[in-house]
Structure formats: C-alpha cells, structure tokens
C-alpha cells in the first residue's frame, strides 16, 4: 500500500477521532485515541508520519479541549 493511501487513511482516522473527541464531554480523554493512529503509522515505515500525525494529535487534543461540550466555557465559568 502506498504512503499516500496510508496518509489519507490516517488523516480520515484522525478526523474521526477528532469528531469523537468533539462529541465527548470533557473528563473523558477522547484524545487518547490518537495514540492508535500513531501506532498505525508503524505500518508506513516513515518517521515523518510520526511527526506529522503526532503533532496533529497534540493540536487536535488541545483543540478538543476548547470545542468539546462543557469545555473552556465551563472552565471560564469557574
């Protein structure tokens, strides 16, 4: 399987994880699912995959913190 196809699959999986995270309330660590995507990057045998999807996971986890139900608003309430 070519790296392009893998990149698309991983991107789709990352988006799915992000959507799940967005639909999960804070307190439930939905971002942990990005680890599985990164783990799948082993199949690509390319170190750049780890950098790219690792950074994407971190950013989207932080983004999920703000956009998840009961996120920053509640925090702000406090």
């Amino acid at each position: 399987m070519s790296k392009t196809v893998l990149a698309i699959i991983y991107s789709v999986l990352t988006i799915i994880v992000f959507i799940i995270d967005l639909n999960t309330e804070l307190g439930i660590a939905g971002g942990i699912l990005y680890v599985s995507v990164i783990a799948l990057c082993l199949l690509a045998k390319d170190k750049h995959f780890f950098v790219a999807f690792g950074l994407a996971g971190i950013i989207l986890t932080i983004a999920g913190y703000f956009f998840s139900p009961g996120g920053v608003k509640n925090t702000r309430c406090y």
Binding site: L26, I32, Y34, V35, K47, F50, V51, G54, T61
Partner: protein
C-alpha cells in the same frame, strides 16, 4: 488533566515511532547498500527478508523470494549443501562457513556465509539472519597469484644459473633447481637436503676458496647493494668450471634480503682461451711470414706491422705504430704509398700494385703489394691491410726470360707453320674417309630398305657351330617374335616341310661340294600359325676354313607363296583348257559324224517311205514302217540340231521365239533325260513375243542350265522334275528353269558365275558354263538370276528384252 496525559501519550508514542522508524530506515539503507547478501530466514526455513544485493546477486525479484522456502529459491543442490548449517542456526547456533555454489547464470561462485540466530523475548529462536559474502573475485585472485607463482617458479627453475635468496644473515630463503643441481654435483653429502634455512657460507665453505668466502662474507656484512666476482670450481669429474657470482638487494616483499646469482661462464672462458690461442697463432704466422704485412687505420696510421716488415725496412715496430706514412718514410716514398692506400680506401676493393721501397743495406727494392680493405661485420671499413712480397729478383729473372721467350717464339712460329701444313693434309684425308663413310652408310641404308621392301629374310649359317643368325625380317615374315626363334640349325630343320627336307639337303650338299655356284632351292616352311609357306632359298658359301672346307654361308629366304599359288592355278587352268580342247574336238567329230549318219539315214527313210507305198503290206507292218520313218526323221532332226549346236557361232542377231528355242534344246537332251527318268514340265505362255538374239548363243545358255539341272539329280533321287516356264510382258521375256536336284551349297553360291568354279570336278565340268552363259545374257542386255537351296533344288531365271525394246 486527562488531556495532558493524552498529549503525553501521543508525544511518547510519536517519539518512539519516530526513533524506531529512523533505526529501521538506517538499517534498510545499510542493508540496501552493502555488498554482502543479507537475509532473514524464519523457523519454517522461508525467507522473510532479503536485501537488494541479494536480489541482484541471484537475479530474481523480491516476490519470488519472500515467504518462499529456501529449498525452492536456492535449488535442491545448494540447499542440501547448506542444510546442516541451516538446521544448526535454527537451533540457535551461529554458523560461519565457506561454500562453492553454482549461480543462476551457471557460473561458479565462492561464498562465505554467516548465520546469526534471532531469539524472541522467551529465548526461543525465531529464525536467523544470513550474511553472505561473495568471495569469488578473491578466490580468482588467489588462483591467479598461485598460477603466477608457479610460472615464476618454472622460469626460475629453468634458468641455467643458480639463484639464491638470502636474508641479511646469509640464511637461504629460496633457491632454484640449478642451485640444487650444482651443489649436489659438487658435494654428494647434500643429497636430498633442503637448503631453506641453511647458511650459504656453510654450503660453500668446503667448495670455495677461502678468499672467495671471505669476499662474500664481507659483502653480506656490509650489505653491498651490488657486487660480483668470478671464481672457479673443480667438479668431481676433474673438470674445472668458471662461475661469476652477482648479488642484488632483493626487492621489498621478499623474505630474503639478497638475491645471489651464479652464472656458469666456463664456455665463455674456454672461448676466450681459444681466442687468445688463435690470436697468438695469428701473430706467430704474421711474424714468421716472409712477406711484409702491415695494417693501417682509415687515417693512414699504422696499426700493426710484422717482424719481416721491421727487418726489410730496418725499422722498429715501436717507431712506426701509431704514426702516419709521411712521419715514417721520405716524402717520395710516402706519396707513393699514400696514393695507393687512398685508392683502396675509396674503392674498397682489393688491388695489386708494384711499389718501390728503400732498403738501407740493399738499396732500392721492388715489392708486389696486395692491398685490401678491412671491414667490420656491418661492412664499414676501418682500415687497410697490405701484404708485400719482394720481387726484385723475380723482376730480374723476368727480363732474362723475356729475351729467351723472343728466341723461342721464332722457333715456335716455324714449327707452327709446319704443323698447319700437316694438319691440312690430315684434314683432307679425314674428309675423304668421311665421304667414304657416308657412302657406306647410304649403301647400308639402301640395302636395309631393299630388304624391307622385298620382304626377304636373311640367314647367316656358321657351319662349324651350326649357329644360324636369322634376321628380324626373316622371323617376322614367318610370324615369329625375335625371342621365339632359336638361332640354330635344328630350329630351321623343325620348320621345314618333311617332304621338302630331302630335296633341300641334296641341293645344299651339292653347293657345299662346290657342284653348284649357288644354293638355290624352293621349300616350304611352317609359319607360327601352322601354315606352310613357300620360300625361294638362295645362298652362297662366303668363308672357308684353313682346310678349304666351307665355314660360313649366307643367304636369303624369299616368300614365293603367291607365285606358287599362281603356278597351281595355272596348272589347273591348263587342265581345264585341255578338257575344253577335248570337248571342242568332240564337237568337230560330232559334226563330221552327223554328216556321215545323215546320208544313210536319209536313204533308209526314202526306202521306208517307198515301202509304205507298197499295197501288199499288212496294216501292222505299215504301222511299223511309219514308226521307223518317224524315228528316222527324229534322228535327222537330232543330227541337224547337233550340227547346228557345234557349229561356231555366227554372231548374227535375229528374231527368235523362245518357246521354240527351248523345244530344240530339249530335243537334244531328251535321250539322257528319259534314260535318267527326269520329267520335264513345260509351262509356256502361248502368246509369245520374239526376242532379238543370237540364236545359237541363247541355245548354249539354255543347254548349259539344263545340263546343270540334269547333273544336279542324284541317281537315287525319288523325284526328278525340271520345270520350264516362259512368260512375256511388253518389255521383257522371262524363262524360269527350276529343278528339284541337289541345289548349290552356300560356299560357292556367290561365285558360281566366276570362271572355273565347279562342283563336278574337272572330269565332268570345266567351270566355264555358267560364266559364259552370264556373259552371253549380259551381252544381250538381259540378266540371269539364281535361287538355290541345298538338297531342294535351284531356280534359274533368264530375262531378255523383247524385240520391240531392243
């Protein structure tokens, strides 16, 4: 907080994956670029990984290797070889081995394989890594080096001089075969000894002179780079050998430090000795020669003079060598010498000149000099050599001889004139002899040709020895080859006809008794083919012995076969002529008798006719009288016909009817025909046409043919018929006479119209009947044809033109 842990997890995982992936990438780069073949084989003996070199080396794609069993990929043969190592590696033991295999392209390859087992966390072997190095180029290089070493070894061993390689202590590190050979020849104690590690000084200590050993020791000690010296050895055979020893520092990489070579220069030494001997001999020849010998270079400087030169010119060798001619001799003489030398140097050809020299003791001398150029092997001149002989005395003698010669020449001239005169006389005499010789040859040639033409054979009989020379012509005429005839009298006696032998002997005896001048005789000799040949023998006694008895007789044999045959034919003809003469006389007699018969018969007939007129005759008697009268008439007719027949031919042509003519002839033959019982069957064409012929000649033809038919019947023949047919056309008249007699044999059928051919013998036939008949018919422009078959009869056809057509 949860998100923090999530981010941490993500970071750790990504970092771990990044590091892991980097390592994997490095490993892949390494495995891809190293020349060794790297692979991983699992417990099932299937390839799990192979690097690019592996694929390139085997020349197959990755898909055909990965997950494929080793046995399938490598082939049964290679797999069987490496199977023990594979099994050991799968048991967790490292393997290291070398193996020779056949690659996919069929080339042989040497490889070194190392197997490293891989164990999992539990310590169980999952498979092994295989790292294979292709040693083929190294192996090939090793083989190449080995081959080069062998070649070098062969070369060194084939060199005829010794080569030793020593270290700085003089220990031998290498030696060639020549070393072994010469040392073993010199000292038998070294038999089978390997010199490696021994000191060269120890080996040569007993063989060399001490001073030579010391020299070598010194050079080794000082480590002189190049040195050489000559030395000699006495072989056990007593032969002295000269050798030259040379050393050189060995090149780097050799075990030894010095290379010592000994070259046997015995041959060179011997040649040098020979050259020295030759040189001294040459010098001895030159010095002891009674001729003046000198050598000069191209600039005219003396290189050598011999001892006689010194004595003749009263000058020392040392005073002349290296000096020019002008420095040694007065100008007048020097100019003469230089001029002659110059001519030789320019022409480079030898020359012979007379020169004058000055001897202080004897005065002026004349020498004859032979000068020639001296050349190098390449043809370039480097000097001249002169050999001069003192001819002063010879010159004086020459002048004296000149005077004597003049006197002698006058005497010789007179003698020569006398000789010329005698020679002319002799020449004339020789010419006379030559003319005689030519005449003799011509005469012999003429005699030879005459003999050849005459077909005579010559014989030469030695009466003393009975040897007989028969000429080739004699032998050839009798059909014998030259070697088939014995040259003696017995041979001749054997081939003479027995009936002639007595006659010949008598004739010969008469001649030998000198009763006849020549021996002439006719006899028959037997030819090789067994036929008898008539010869006319003519001979004469030509030599007699001391007692007067004949000793040699020469003669010729002439073939007279043709003459003899002609004589026999003549005799036969003579017989026939005699017979014809008788017949002719009989004809005349017949004519005369018929006349004599005719008158009485005519009288009888008249009387008989008168008697018939008588009245008192009974009818029976009258009938008898009539028969008698008719018989008389017939006799008269017969006589008349006989008379006509035997009368000479008139030659007068007249018109004749053939049927009537045949009847006349038949009348003549009726008596003999009836007596023999021959029946004549006539078949004449009635409307006949006359022919214009000589009547009696045609009668003769018919009589001849009928007479032949009559005689053709044997007395005991059952059927004796003669058929006579006549037929007439507009142009010709044809008479066919056919008999059923004995016929004509094939032998004589072709010749029956030739004269004197008869089957009846000379008593009955002349052999002229048919030839005469043929001639007569041809004269009448007719023809006779005959057909005959032996024992069945003959048929003669006479064709004559009818009267109108003549």
């Amino acid at each position: 907080m949860n998100r923090f842990y999530a981010i941490l997890s993500i970071s750790v995982t990504a970092l771990f994956g990044y590091i892991s992936s980097s390592y994997q990438e490095h490993l892949e780069i390494i495995s891809k670029n190293i020349s060794e073949l790297v692979s991983f084989v699992d417990q099932n003996q299937c390839f799990q990984y192979v690097n690019e070199s592996y694929l390139d080396w085997f020349g197959i794609s990755r898909e055909k290797i990965v997950n494929q069993p080793l046995e399938k990929v490598l082939g049964q043969q290679i797999y069987e070889k490496i199977k023990p190592f594979i099994l050991s590696a799968l048991k967790g033991e490292e393997q290291d081995f070398e193996i020779q295999i056949l690659k996919g392209n069929g080339k042989e390859a040497f490889v070194q394989a190392k197997y490293f087992p891989k164990k999992n966390w539990a310590g169980k072997t999952e498979g092994f890594f295989a790292i294979i190095s292709d040693l083929t180029p190294f192996k090939q290089n090793e083989l190449l080096i080995e081959r080069e070493n062998k070649r070098l070894e062969t070369i060194l061993n084939s060199i005829p001089f010794q080569i030793w390689v020593l270290n700085e202590n003089g220990e031998i590190k290498y030696f060639n075969t020549a070393c072994q050979d010469i040392v073993l020849q010199l000292d038998q104690s070294f038999v089978g000894t390997d010199f490696i590690g021994k000191n060269i000084i120890d080996i040569y200590s007993d063989l060399w002179r001490q001073e030579d050993i010391e020299t070598l020791k010194g050079h080794l000690k000082e480590q002189t780079k190049f040195f050489s010296f000559e030395y000699s050895l006495y072989f056990p055979t007593g032969q002295r050998h000269f050798l030259i020893l040379g050393t050189n520092m060995a090149l780097e990489g050799f075990d030894g430090k010095f290379v010592i070579s000994h070259i046997d220069i015995t041959q060179r030494k011997l040649i040098e000795e020979k050259i020295a001997n030759t040189k001294s001999q040459l010098e001895a020849i030159l010095d002891n020669s009674p001729a003046i010998i000198y050598m000069k270079d191209m600039s005219g400087r003396y290189l050598m003079v011999n001892q006689f030169y010194e004595e003749a010119l009263n000058i020392n060798r040392e005073d002349i060598i290296g000096k020019t001619t002008h420095e040694v001799f007065p100008k007048v003489l020097a100019d003469q010498f230089v001029k002659n030398d110059h001519r030789v140097m320019t022409t480079l050809q030898p020359q012979e000149v007379e020169e004058e020299i000055w001897d202080h003791a004897a005065g002026k001398k004349t020498v004859l000099s032979i000068q020639f150029p001296l050349k190098h092997e390449n043809g370039n001149p480097y000097g001249i050599c002169g050999i001069s002989t003192d001819i002063t005395q010879r010159k004086r003698d020459f002048h004296h001889l000149q005077k004597l010669k003049t006197g002698l020449e006058g005497e010789i001239r007179e003698s020569t004139l006398e000789l010329i005169r005698k020679n002319e006389a002799l020449t004339r005499e020789i010419e006379g002899h030559q003319i005689t010789q030519r005449q003799l040859e011509t005469s012999e040639e003429r005699f030879k040709y005459a003999l050849e033409v005459s077909s005579d054979g010559i014989w030469d009989w030695n009466l003393k020895t009975d040897e007989v020379y028969f000429s080739p012509g004699w032998k050839e005429s009798l059909g014998y080859k030259p070697d088939e005839v014995a040259n003696n009298l017995d041979f001749w006696k054997n081939i003479v006809h027995p009936d002639d032998l007595e006659k010949v002997t008598q004739a010969l005896q008469k001649h030998l008794n000198e009763e006849t001048d020549f021996y002439i005789c006719e006899n028959r000799l037997c030819t090789k083919s067994g036929q008898w040949r008539w010869n006319l023998v003519q001979g004469k006694v030509v030599e007699w012995d001391d007692e007067g008895k004949p000793s040699r007789m020469i003669g010729t044999d002439t073939n007279i076969n043709h003459r003899k045959e002609a004589e026999l034919a003549l005799q036969e003809t003579q017989k026939q002529l005699n017979h014809m003469e008788k017949l002719s006389a009989l004809g005349k007699l017949t004519g005369s008798i018929s006349h004599e018969f005719n008158n009485p018969i005519y009288a009888i007939r008249l009387i008989l006719e008168q008697l018939t007129e008588e009245v008192n005759i009974s009818n029976e008697n009258r009938k008898g009288l009539m028969i008698a009268i008719n018989e008389c008439k017939r006799i008269s007719n017969l006589i008349a016909k006989l008379k006509d027949f035997y009368l000479p031919t008139s030659g007068e042509l007249k018109s004749v009817f053939l049927n009537e003519l045949i009847d006349d002839v038949l009348m003549l033959l009726r008596g003999p025909f009836e007596k023999k019982g021959i029946q004549v069957i006539k078949n004449f064409q009635e409307d006949e046409k006359p022919v214009y012929v000589v009547e009696d000649q045609i009668k003769q033809v018919l009589l001849n043919i009928l007479q032949n038919a009559f005689e053709a019947f044997e007395p005991d023949s059952k059927k004796m018929d003669i058929g006579i047919n006549t037929s007439f056309s507009e142009t010709e008249a044809k008479v066919i006479i056919r008999d059923s007699g004995s016929g004509i044999s094939k032998d004589i059928f072709e010749t029956i119209f030739e004269p004197f051919v008869t089957t009846k013998g000379t008593e009955k036939g002349s052999g002229l009947g048919l030839p005469v008949s043929y001639s007569i018919i041809e004269d009448h422009s007719g023809k006779i044809d005959v057909e005959s078959e032996l024992s069945k009869g003959s048929c003669f056809t006479i064709t004559l033109p009818v009267e109108d057509k003549i």
